[in-house]
């Protein structure tokens, strides 16, 4: 029986000089859920992502992923253990074709070219990129570039997908289609998703649970319906009621 808790963030702090970008953060990601990580600008969401994915070492605290302590591992090692992230600003290979973008993600997974090819095709199909495989990623419209970023992460069929503002700049139709894809990724492939996103409507719609940060600290946690009524969260976003 695999543990119910996939990622455990335990008392994690990250300081930059005197600035505590994240301090004493505790939360868990449960297997198979879509967890939203929200908070006003500067709340420490991106820092949290960077610590989880190994780009920053935590100043204090520990990270446990799939029953293993991954504190201090580098990004490649963490990725190979099944935790993949995307970046807020275009995580794609601009000069390369969509096919090669996805292919690069599969290289460390398979040795055989045939297996890599099959995985690329399946992934492109899922992200509705099949018609664009030969196009240079940097020339695609913004919405499709976002899908390429997600395709790169999803191509690895990782246990945990950490998506950093994947919906930014998408129109309503594209958002709806992206959310449907996220659900399929979770339901059909059993991937757990950790989502940082500013589009509140989308977050409320798709997330099973939400963790709220403010000023680098844990503020609240709960179901979307609880969070939207939470006094502390409302005042963090809108300022205190007079």
């Amino acid at each position: 029986m695999e543990p119910e808790i996939l990622l455990k963030v335990e008392g994690v702090s990250r300081h930059f000089g005197g600035l505590a970008a994240v301090s004493d953060l505790n939360f868990e990601v449960r297997r198979g859920e879509i967890l939203g990580l929200i908070g006003p600008n500067g709340a420490g969401k991106s820092t949290t992502f960077n610590v989880i994915s190994g780009f920053y070492k935590p100043t204090r605290g520990r990270l446990h992923f799939a029953g293993e302590d991954i504190t201090g591992r580098n990004p490649a090692q963490i990725s190979r253990r099944g935790l993949v992230r995307t970046f807020q600003h275009g995580s794609l290979l601009r000069e390369m074709t969509v096919y090669d973008n996805i292919l690069v993600a599969t290289i460390s997974l398979f040795r055989a070219r045939l297996e890599r090819d099959r995985r690329v095709m399946e992934t492109a199909e899922m992200l509705r990129l099949s018609d664009h495989l030969n196009e240079i990623a940097g020339n695609l419209p913004h919405g499709l570039q976002r899908m390429v970023s997600i395709a790169i992460a999803f191509a690895r069929r990782s246990k945990l997908l950490c998506l950093d503002e994947p919906l930014t700049g998408l129109n309503q139709i594209e958002v709806a289609s992206a959310l449907a894809i996220f659900r399929r990724i979770r339901d059909e492939f059993g991937c757990t998703i950790l989502l940082v996103e500013h589009n509140m409507k989308a977050v409320m719609e798709i997330c099973d649970r939400i963790v709220v940060l403010d000023h680098g600290e844990f503020l609240a946690e709960g179901k979307p319906s609880e969070i939207s009524k939470n006094e502390a969260v409302i005042s963090a976003y809108l300022g205190k009621r007079k």
């Binding site: 990725s79 970046f87 390369m96 090669d100 290289i107």
Partner: protein
């Protein structure tokens, strides 16, 4: 399946081999060797450019290859093939260590470090009396039975290594190198050790560079520290800019054309370097993708249709 462009390239290779075989006279032979070695140096310089780094340390590794092979031939009287291998191995191995330490830096920082490496190495040669100090090392000859075929051998080795570099670039490894140039953080998130990949890239390129140095040493018979200053890398950059960076054939074209043209620049005396500076500027301004880009526009057949899994 052999495409028409591949057939043309193969034919050109055969012609080069035949031409070098039947070439008469010292100057023609020397010129063929310089062209071939410059072609290979440019290709190896371009190989490191795949990860986005301008590798000025290349000039230093040419020197290591030349001195190692020169020592093997003159001091230890080793067979020619072994000298060649030792030159290449010395450059390759040292570059792995150098790369491991320096490739955490990138862009202008790596450029400066690699530049400094080349110059420091040159100064070290001048202080080492074992290898001739300032006046250099003399008497590096290929074996007598090879002398007649030496230009042909150099062209052959160049073609072999060009092919190896080309295959590597087209492989999954090569895709990773280009991906690193595009976005190295992203490549880390798909489970690839970016740092070690860069180190291996430099190692492979430097092995080839070491071969160049060894071949050059045996062609010129004399080497001295001044032959391996950072200017070698500047010339190579000029070859690449004029030839075009997007394809390995660009490196080949640029090196051939500029090396031949430069024979006229020799007459400029001290102004010779202006020739290379002008070549870079004109190349960048007039030929955005170099001679290869120009050729591509003139012969649409060269344009490779991108196909998945290719």
């Amino acid at each position: 399946m052999v495409s028409r462009s591949q057939a043309v390239v193969a034919a050109a290779g055969v012609c080069a081999l035949a031409g070098s075989f039947f070439s008469k006279g010292d100057f023609a032979s020397s010129l063929i060797i310089w062209v071939a070695v410059n072609v290979l140096m440019t290709a190896s310089f371009r190989f490191v450019l795949l990860i986005g780094e301008l590798n000025f340390a290349m000039a230093g590794f040419v020197g290591i290859g030349a001195y190692a092979a020169g020592m093997a031939t003159t001091m230890y009287k080793l067979p020619f093939a072994l000298s060649l291998l030792l030159g290449a191995a010395a450059a390759g191995l040292i570059s792995l260590v150098v790369g491991f330490v320096t490739l955490r830096a990138k862009g202008p920082y790596f450029l400066l470090i690699s530049f400094a490496f080349t110059e420091v190495l040159r100064l070290i040669y001048t202080r080492m009396d074992v290898i001739g100090g300032n006046s250099g090392m003399i008497g590096i000859f290929p074996p007598a039975y090879l002398a007649r075929f030496y230009p042909t051998l150099v062209v052959f080795i160049t073609i072999v290594f060009l092919f190896v570099l080309y295959r590597l670039e087209r492989s999954a490894f090569g895709k990773i190198l280009v991906a690193i140039r595009n976005n190295d953080e992203l490549v880390q998130t798909v489970g690839i050790d970016v740092h070690m990949t860069k180190v291996w890239c430099l190692g492979i390129a430097s092995f080839v560079t070491g071969v160049c140095g060894a071949l050059l040493a045996h062609a010129n018979n004399v080497i001295s520290p001044g032959d391996f200053s950072f200017l070698v890398a500047v010339y190579t950059l000029a070859y690449l800019k004029v030839g075009g960076e997007s394809h390995i054939l660009g490196a080949v074209l640029g090196a051939i054309v500029l090396t031949l043209l430069a024979q006229y620049a020799l007459g400029f005396g001290a102004y010779e370097h202006i020739f290379y500076g002008a070549a870079i500027v004109i190349g960048v301004l007039v030929l955005p993708d170099g001679l290869y880009g120009l050729l591509q526009r003139m012969l649409p057949g060269l344009r490779r249709p991108a196909s998945p899994g290719n």
